[in-house]
């Protein structure tokens, strides 16, 4: 490189604006290039009357808003929405509760802590497709899970996990809890270990019981971490596709037909692409409500942190 160019590059790299703006360009560029166009395409397709079996989309007739009208009146869509929210709600609640309990027991050091930590994190590292295989093996009528349940209860248990309506729903939720409790556990353990030690110690010195320390010192400090665990998991759980797809293909009947599976079936099994596009746009509107709610929560927690942190620290150090 010639000397002049090198110097100019050096000077360029000293400008604050370079560090402020250059990183934004590729990220925004990628998001726009990859997501904006498909989004507009979805809008357009939703207005067509296009089925995969009827040739290329450019030749499809225009259908106006009929797809949206159909979707709004579709009971199967409504059911799958309700189902998805119930699944996600149950699974996330269990994951956060179990994760929190386990985190409380493991965040301080004790003998064997590392072994537990190591084992607890394994499920989230397994590919969902493999978990699908594995659980469909565990859940056979004459499989190991029924065998263990039989041993524990002393009766002959033959739950038909994947072919009974309720049992299949439970199985999908349980598989999700098994896979993702490690993540909430990890987030909460990380939060608990990161808590500043001074407030806890101060409370102990002032004679607080263990419960009081937890309830009035640790829990408030930990609230933002609980919120992020909830938000991250809810975000992913509402998209749930792999597990029900692999375990039950959305069945038996439509017992485990979540939103993603509903849309998938409509597009690829029934070939109703335009309809699926319209339905997914409606779903998106619904989801954005959830998105805004969670963003509002996150912002509130972070704002509280930023405003509160220094002040509280100053107070503690003054004592």
């Amino acid at each position: 490189m010639p000397k002049g160019t090198e110097r100019r590059l050096g000077r360029w790299l000293e400008r604050e604006s370079v560090f402020r703006l250059v990183p934004l360009v590729p990220v925004q560029g990628l998001i726009l290039a990859l997501l904006a166009v498909p989004f507009v395409l979805t809008l357009y397709i939703s207005l067509l009357r296009w089925r995969l079996t009827r040739g290329f989309w450019t030749a499809a007739p225009f259908g106006g808003l009929s797809n949206f009208a159909d979707a709004l009146g579709d009971e199967a869509l409504l059911n799958s929405i309700v189902r998805t929210f119930v699944f996600a709600g149950t699974a996330v609640a269990l994951e956060v509760l179990i994760g929190f309990g386990l985190a409380l027991l493991t965040y301080r050091s004790f003998r064997g802590r590392r072994v537990y930590l190591t084992i607890f994190l394994v499920p989230m590292m397994i590919i969902p497709v493999v978990i699908g295989y594995n659980f469909s093996m565990l859940l056979i009528d004459t499989g190991p899970l029924n065998s263990v349940l039989g041993l524990l209860s002393g009766q002959d248990i033959r739950i038909r996990w994947l072919s009974e309506y309720r049992a299949a729903q439970v199985a999908v939720v349980l598989a999700d809890v098994w896979q993702w409790t490690p993540l909430t556990f990890l987030i909460l353990v990380s939060g608990l270990t990161g808590l500043p030690p001074d407030p806890v110690r101060a409370a102990q010195v002032m004679g607080a019981t263990r419960w009081q320390v937890f309830r009035y010192v640790q829990l408030p400090l930990l609230k933002p971490v609980i919120v992020i665990a909830l938000v991250v998991r809810t975000m992913e759980a509402l998209k749930i596709f792999d597990l029900p797809m692999l375990l039950t293909q959305g069945g038996p009947g439509n017992a485990t037909e979540t939103l993603s599976i509903f849309l998938w079936r409509n597009a690829w099994v029934f070939n109703k692409v335009s309809y699926a596009a319209a339905a997914s746009l409606l779903v998106l509107v619904l989801f954005s409500a959830v998105i805004f709610a969670s963003i509002w929560l996150l912002r509130r927690e972070r704002a509280a942190l930023e405003a509160d942190g220094p002040r509280r620290r100053a107070e503690w150090s003054r004592r």
Partner: protein, 308 residues
């Protein structure tokens, strides 16, 4: 007091061991099955113990890696196993795509996180705005993405007069994986970078270091472990991504989840043994990676929601 503490210790170990059993039960079953021959896959009463209940065998592993047939004499025995399990193809494709995508996402996201942390790039709301990318269900964009990817080449040919394909290629999937994981990278790296005191950077700058040197010598070493943690998380997400890969690839590119799914649905009668063997093989590398950086994992996973 001490007695209560001892009681608590016992209680803790009981609860944690119970959860350990729950976690390990499916994993153990998978590993066990991977060493079973066809007759032992599904049986009642359940066959738990190798050597006592069933004779362990390496058949499944030989089958998935396709080493010298599936019987001792070297012939193929199971009917469905006559087709080779081309698992290597999946391992290589997944490996290349996921590694490149995760690294690129980490670099781009970390740079932007630094800009956001230090210069408030994009305004106060930017990190929240970018989360919406992650909240978009992939199924919503899968079909338009397919149309988009298949019609992009025509656009490129008409405008730039070059031939590029996106559907069923490495870079097509890599680009998409970068975008879908960026929100998490930005959020996690933002937390790690926010934790680096600005004073350190100011000191280095005062001593005459350039901005780039400051980044390399002061900031990077302090966030390196955080970057490893972020990389692992993003790697896991990409390594398991199923829906987009299923829609946007085949037959040339075949990631592991898509490949594995084929075995699930293709064969009449489930091949539990080989499936379990594959499951064991593809799970191992991620777990080992996780073990290596476990110490950092626990330190750095609170998304910046704790301030000291």
């Amino acid at each position: 007091m001490t007695r209560r503490r001892a009681a608590f210790g016992v209680f803790r170990h009981v609860v944690l061991s119970a959860w350990t059993l729950i976690v390990l039960f499916p994993v153990a079953w998978m590993v066990l099955t991977s060493f079973k021959d066809a007759g032992d896959w599904v049986s009642w009463p359940t066959r738990w113990f190798p050597f006592l209940d069933f004779e362990p065998t390496l058949l499944n592993y030989r089958q998935i890696f396709y080493i010298g047939g599936t019987t001792a004499s070297g012939e193929l025995r199971r009917e469905a196993s006559e087709q080779a399990y081309a698992i290597w193809k999946g391992v290589v494709d997944s490996g290349v795509i996921v590694t490149i995508a995760s690294l690129a996402s980490l670099v781009l996201g970390a740079a932007l996180a630094y800009a956001i942390s230090r210069f408030r790039t994009g305004g106060r709301n930017y990190p929240y705005t970018i989360l919406t990318v992650r909240m978009l269900p992939p199924i919503v964009i899968a079909i338009p993405m397919l149309i988009y990817y298949t019609s992009l080449p025509e656009f490129f040919r008409a405008v730039f007069n070059v031939r590029v394909a996106f559907f069923d290629t490495y870079h097509g999937l890599i680009l998409l994986y970068i975008v879908t994981t960026l929100p998490y990278v930005i959020w996690m790296m933002l937390a790690f970078i926010d934790a680096v005191p600005r004073e350190l950077e100011h000191a280095a700058r005062l001593m005459g270091a350039t901005r780039l040197t400051t980044l390399r010598v002061v900031v990077f070493p302090l966030v390196a472990s955080g970057m490893a943690v972020t990389l692992l998380f993003v790697f896991i997400l990409n390594w398991s991504e199923f829906l987009l890969a299923l829609t946007l690839t085949q037959p040339n590119v075949l990631t592991l989840p898509v490949l594995l799914n084929k075995f699930q649905s293709a064969v009449e009668g489930r091949l539990y043994g080989p499936q379990a063997a594959i499951g064991t093989v593809v799970t191992l590398p991620v777990v080992v990676f996780g073990l290596l950086i476990q110490k950092h994992l626990v330190k750095g996973f609170s998304f910046g929601m704790i301030r000291r």
